[in-house]
Symmetry: C2
Subunit: 204 residues, 2 copies
């Protein structure tokens, strides 16, 4: 009996430690390969999008100034020396970027976050040009999710920095415009240097 | 003897598993907290900087257009409708950014990578504005390293995309200009929205 108890105690200890080891290992393996939880979209029960956390540390795929899609009345060019229009930055999740680089396709749950900044004029020591000034409170998210819309993507607006993002209706022009004008799977890769480079495309 | 051997086998198994668990745990902890090897600067034996790998996935702290520091002859503003000048993007290592957010200070081995893009004019569906066109082959790195220069920072040029970056001499104007004009520890945080926000400063 004493022998049996001794073996049993040793084995139970070994099993407990083995279980802990496997749990620790799994957490490590998950962190290394799968999409990290904090880079995935999360929704409220009524389908609004929770604000993506830490998007400013995501991969910035392209910046632009004064872009406008207004076909009916494109804005006049700014007068000499005036600001070139607001800066727009576009960010995507690091894991989705790695997937895109590996496969050339955007995985399900890819998100692009579009943010806006005042174009601020040169201040010391700059003598010419514009930099990113005050960030505007609102931003937009473009999300890939099967079944969410016939295009496979949806837009969510956080106008004025609202707590959750409401899905824009599928009749909003951005859906049809992205479907027909985007260079790659509803995404304006033509404006994003690292995505263009991965696809082997030059700037249009 | 049989009892002793049974206990010994159980205990040895437990110890082996425990050692593996600790090794796995340490690797996970190291990956989570310390600077990842591929985000650290590496040098040739004669002090040139190896090209930083994967900088396009680092944290983009600020974009600008047509910035010029030329005090003697600032460039004239572009004529109406002309490009606002080249886009400049500035990236820093994710671990250094996390450290800065946590402490408000740039850790040793912080690197900023400055890249350049043509300002490309609107193409479909854009009706106005400019986006980041072809990336220029050259880039620059600003590195924090004790003893490298009296300012504690050095500049390395990869003009034309050279294989390694040569350190710019300390007499180059960028050293004195960054030392006197930068808002925070030789870094132009005044131009970088997320760094400004961390320091509680508005755009100048």
């Amino acid at each position: 009996m004493q022998r049996v108890r001794g073996v049993a105690v040793g084995s139970i200890a070994a099993v407990i430690v083995a279980v802990i080891a496997v749990l620790v290992w799994r957490r490590g393996a998950q962190a290394a390969s799968g999409p990290p939880e904090d880079q995935l979209p999360h929704f409220t029960t009524d389908g609004a999008l929770m604000p993506p956390a830490g998007w400013e540390t995501w991969v910035m795929v392209g910046s632009s100034t004064g872009l406008s899609y207004n076909q009916a009345a494109p804005p006049p060019p700014p007068p000499p020396g005036a600001a070139p229009g607001m800066f727009h930055n576009v960010y995507m999740q690091p894991w989705a970027y790695r997937e895109f680089v590996a496969t050339g396709a955007f995985p399900e749950q890819t998100m692009f976050v579009l943010t806006f900044y005042e174009a601020s004029r040169k201040s010391a020591p700059a003598r010419a040009g514009f930099y990113e000034g005050d960030r505007q409170p609102g931003y937009e998210v473009h999300l890939k999710k099967e079944g969410i819309d016939p295009t496979g993507w949806a837009f969510f607006g956080f106008a004025g920095g609202t707590a959750v993002g409401q899905k824009l209706p599928g009749t909003t022009p951005c859906y049809s415009c992205h479907a027909t004008e985007a260079a790659h799977d509803n995404v304006f890769t033509q404006f994003y240097p690292p995505l263009r480079e991965r696809l082997g495309k030059a700037a249009p």
